[in-house]
Point group: C2
Chain length 176, copies 2
């Protein structure tokens, strides 16, 4: 129970939070299925030319090590999940942009994008005011227009590998 | 009937030639089916990332205009067909090299390569001695190892468009 609220309001607040987490975890489980190794392998490696790369912002290469480093700087877990969401929405948009609708991976990337969009609705209230400054700085850079020298050529599967691993890291306790 | 041979031998020579042409045309018809517009579109455009290119030797971009120019320099029709065959065997090898076996276009490019290999058997006796020097020079350049500055980045579909159009130009009379 939270301190400083009337018992009935506290119960409602907890129930509301639980329902939001349940919703979030339903989407995360669907994402986990879509991001299973065999699917990543098929749709982002087998179905692309060998050594094909997508140009992304270097912050869009969000690895487990980056999350650990931000955790060490006291970034909150919801802020880190918000960062992961923003980064991967951009990553999926960029992979989708190089595919025609008839490409056999198009539907896969569209489904992932839609799941991320649903998750984004759960983070609607997030903005500069309630995200740690260190995380917000990265979010802003990711959302900003292309920044020439900060670009990196990365294989689509490597991008989705990061997406899956960091998701596991950030949601395994919340949605076990 | 050819001049300078005994009637029986002449008949045999003509029959042999007819059978070789028939064999060649059977393969060309199979190629024509495989190179139909819808198949080229699906396997070399839809199934590749937008703006994806393959690096080829500039002689491997063999267009109808190049054939007209070689015809104007008196290159024989069989020599031009031999050139087309050599160029497109290389082109198909290069497209195949960027694909994993699990890629949905792999089987298509392998089938095309096999048909070109079958056609190549019909041209087994071709060598420097009986191909026009102008054509042979190009064949040699195409078959030579990579020549740095002579490389060109071309979309897979554009390469197969050339392959199909030049085939039509060179075989439409022989295999109508």
């Amino acid at each position: 129970m939270q301190r400083g609220c009337a018992p009935v309001l506290c119960v409602l607040a907890v129930l509301g939070l639980q329902s939001a987490v349940q919703e979030e975890c339903t989407i995360v489980r669907a994402l986990r299925g879509k991001l299973a190794y065999q699917q990543r392998l098929q749709y982002t490696r087998h179905y692309f030319p060998i050594n094909y790369t997508v140009n992304v912002h270097f912050h869009e290469v969000l690895r487990a090590a980056n999350v650990s480093s931000l955790r060490a700087r006291n970034a909150s877990e919801p802020a880190l999940r918000y960062l992961w969401l923003q980064v991967n929405s951009q990553v999926l948009r960029k992979i989708g942009e190089v595919l025609l609708e008839e490409h056999p991976s198009w539907e896969y990337t569209r489904d992932l994008r839609r799941l991320l969009e649903q998750l984004e609705e759960e983070y609607e209230s997030y903005n500069q005011g309630n995200v740690d400054p260190a995380v917000w700085e990265i979010v802003e850079e990711v959302l900003a227009a292309d920044a020439g020298s900060s670009r990196k050529a990365v294989r689509p599967k490597a991008l989705l590998d990061n997406c899956a691993r960091v998701m596991w890291l950030l949601y395994s306790q919340l949605c076990h």
